[in-house]
């Protein structure tokens, strides 16, 4: 009942026209950038950060969440209509979605994807609502050693996503190290300034996020030379048939559960969820031979899974302050930027924000369903936007945004330099998300380390003698060890 009364409070927040506007803007932007080439939700949120700087924290987070799950709807369009997944989490959708589109059933595929996504998004929000508060309440009993170990788990888990564990861990460490530049807030002295006075305040999260996600992405996409796909397929009859519904209903249910559970686990996001959902559907299907040639369950399962995962990833972010995906890492940085302390106290100290965001997710998913069913054809026209016209505008927005946050050209130089670094990271497969997460979590990690060792009179044993901390350390070791052991027994994985 407690959750219900809080939810009512959340809806009361959302009833204010301003916050409803933020929600609408978020899902619209998400839908659009999901369909546009070469820009994903992390980049969009990073680029929009400066616009919200110093503004309304609740509204901004409502908008960012909207961008995140809205992009999952938008990405579906490209994978079904042109077989070019806008997001890695919609790769599986394109296998059967595009085949359905070629058979003239693009409308039905898009319709099932939208309805499945709506169901999964709504059920996922329900899960978030029920799971996050008790998790946060349990985490209130965490002391500094538990927090230290928790940050280790979060960083290690996120390192698994993308270019491989070693590269991910390297980037996480680089992020942590960059965060030590400037004044040490506890000791009061400066470090790693190398005689440069402008480094006194350290490297700003906002500048780094815009540089790596914005500039770096643009440079990498320019190199690939993104050409607009030919959209020859027309979208009509968006309502799926009765048979489509019957074939998809359990796929949506299974996808939702798989997606949510995987989303909650740190490090395993929407992409892995959609892969597993597809594999499960193929396994349980009575007609596995249809998969890859246009099976509607192959669209329904992964689409439900990626939406439920996007929502599930918000559970650890809100309850523990440990994000489960790259996009939630940027959102966590935004929370800190607004002067809020992420973690279990967020539910107590900023109840309006958390429950406002949760309420907005119910409304946002409904808006997306209403937008997608009648307007999918119109959004499909976005696929014709040429990247050559888009990226100069993105660059101009990055420049204005970064300058505006401190009115300083120094920040623009930092942005340019890290933009180039971000390009090389993309090119050589070094993931960006762990670096950004390291930068965001370093103050928490170092404070927890110092407090723990003060408690233990300088002994590191405190991290393994306290049971929860020890369990988290073991989990960290498992995250590192399991892929290494799996590599020893590796066999090629069959997707089709």
């Amino acid at each position: 009942m407690d959750a219900l009364s809080h939810l009512v409070q959340g809806f009361a927040v959302l009833l204010q026209l301003k916050y409803f506007g933020f929600c609408l803007a978020g899902v619209l932007v998400g839908q659009i950038i999901g369909a546009l080439p070469g820009i994903g939700p992390s980049a969009a949120i990073a680029i929009l950060l400066p616009l919200t700087f110093g503004g309304d924290a609740t509204g901004s987070i409502i908008m960012f969440a909207g961008i995140y799950y809205g992009a999952q709807y938008g990405g579906t369009l490209t994978s079904i209509l042109v077989s070019i997944p806008g997001e890695s989490s919609t790769v599986m959708t394109s296998l059967d979605g595009y085949q359905l589109a070629r058979k003239g059933r693009a409308g039905a595929a898009l319709g099932i994807a939208a309805i499945g996504s709506f169901f999964a998004g709504t059920a996922g929000t329900l899960g978030l609502m029920l799971l996050a508060p008790p998790l946060a309440a349990a985490a209130l009993y965490f002391g500094p050693p538990e927090y230290f170990s928790l940050v280790l788990v979060g960083l290690t888990a996120l390192s698994l996503v993308g270019g491989g564990l070693v590269k991910g861990l390297m980037m996480g460490l680089v992020g942590l190290m960059i965060a030590t530049i400037g004044i040490d807030p506890q000791a009061g002295n400066t470090r790693f300034m190398f005689g440069q006075l402008w480094l006194m305040d350290g490297i700003d999260f906002l500048v780094l996020a815009v540089a790596l996600f914005g500039i770096g992405e643009v440079l990498a996409s320019v190199e690939q030379g993104l050409t607009p796909p030919k959209v020859e397929l027309t979208v009509r009859n968006l309502m799926p048939t009765r048979i489509d519904f019957i074939r998809s209903r359990f796929a949506v249910l299974r996808g939702t559960v798989i997606g949510f559970v995987i989303g909650v686990l740190p490090g395993a996001g929407a992409t892995i969820a959609s892969f597993i959902a597809y594999a499960v559907e193929k396994k349980v299907s009575k007609h596995p031979e249809e998969f890859g040639t246009g099976a509607i369950e192959g669209v329904a399962g992964p689409e439900a899974a990626n939406n439920a995962a996007a929502t599930g990833a918000m559970v650890p972010m809100f309850a523990l302050g440990i994000p489960g995906s790259g996009t939630t890492a940027v959102m966590l940085g935004a929370l800190i930027m607004f002067g809020l302390q992420p973690g279990p106290q967020l539910f107590e100290k900023n109840a309006d924000l958390v429950w406002g965001v949760i309420a907005s997710m119910y409304v946002g998913n409904a808006i997306l369903l209403a937008l997608n069913l009648p307007l999918a054809g119109m959004f499909a026209m976005l696929l014709r936007v040429r990247y050559t016209l888009l990226y100069p505008v993105i660059l101009a927005l990055c420049i204005a945004g970064v300058y505006s946050q401190a009115n300083s050209a120094d920040d623009l130089w930092v942005m340019t330099a890290f933009g180039v670094v971000g390009y090389f990271m993309k090119k050589y497969g070094f993931p960006v998300a762990p670096l950004v997460l390291g930068l965001v979590l370093e103050p928490m990690l170092e404070t927890a380390l110092r407090q723990s060792m003060t408690l233990s009179h300088g002994s590191l044993a405190i991290f393994v003698t306290r049971p929860i901390s020890a369990a988290l350390i073991i989990l960290t070791l498992l995250i590192v060890a399991v892929p290494l052991i799996a590599r020893l027994f590796r066999r090629p994985i069959e997707i089709h």
Binding site: T388, P392, A409, T416
Partner: protein, 147 residues
């Protein structure tokens, strides 16, 4: 090609780690009980050096896969243009510097027709100016001409 790039990246990370270890060694390691300013950075440096070492070794053991050549000249043009734009943004002002950069990207790099280049530039600058200056009251850099 890719392995060579990854190798260089690994060596750079290794050097970054060495730099952190060297600098952190000059900072207090332990206070009374709690770690000093040098404790965490030192161990972060050590971990980075170790992981970079593993990465470099695995690069040396792998065969270089063929990488299709991308539009690297374009990347260079976009990056150099960005450096130029940042260099002149305070003396010339946001509007002139960024408009010139956009025109350069659209007309010179992407070879768009003049009409498209001008249209996108004017539209983007107009929207950004309205958004940041008029709506958010952010003082974007002004040139000698007052905008």
């Amino acid at each position: 090609m890719k392995v060579r790039g990854e190798l260089v990246a690994g060596v750079l990370c290794l050097l970054f780690g060495v730099l952190w270890i060297a600098t952190a060694s000059g900072l207090p390691y332990m206070g009374e009980f709690a770690p000093g300013s040098g404790f965490l950075p030192l161990w972060l440096g050590v971990c980075l050096v170790a992981l970079s070492g593993v990465h470099v070794l695995s690069c040396l053991r792998r065969q270089a896969p063929h990488m299709p050549a991308g539009h690297w000249r374009k990347v260079l043009a976009v990056a150099i243009g960005l450096i130029g734009c940042v260099a002149v943004i305070e003396p010339l002002g946001f509007v002139v510097a960024v408009a010139a950069y956009l025109l350069f990207l659209l007309r010179v790099v992407e070879k768009e027709p003049w009409s498209t280049s001008l249209g996108v530039t004017v539209g983007a600058i107009g929207v950004l100016f309205a958004l940041f200056r008029v709506w958010l009251h952010v003082p974007l850099p002004k040139g000698p001409w007052g905008f």
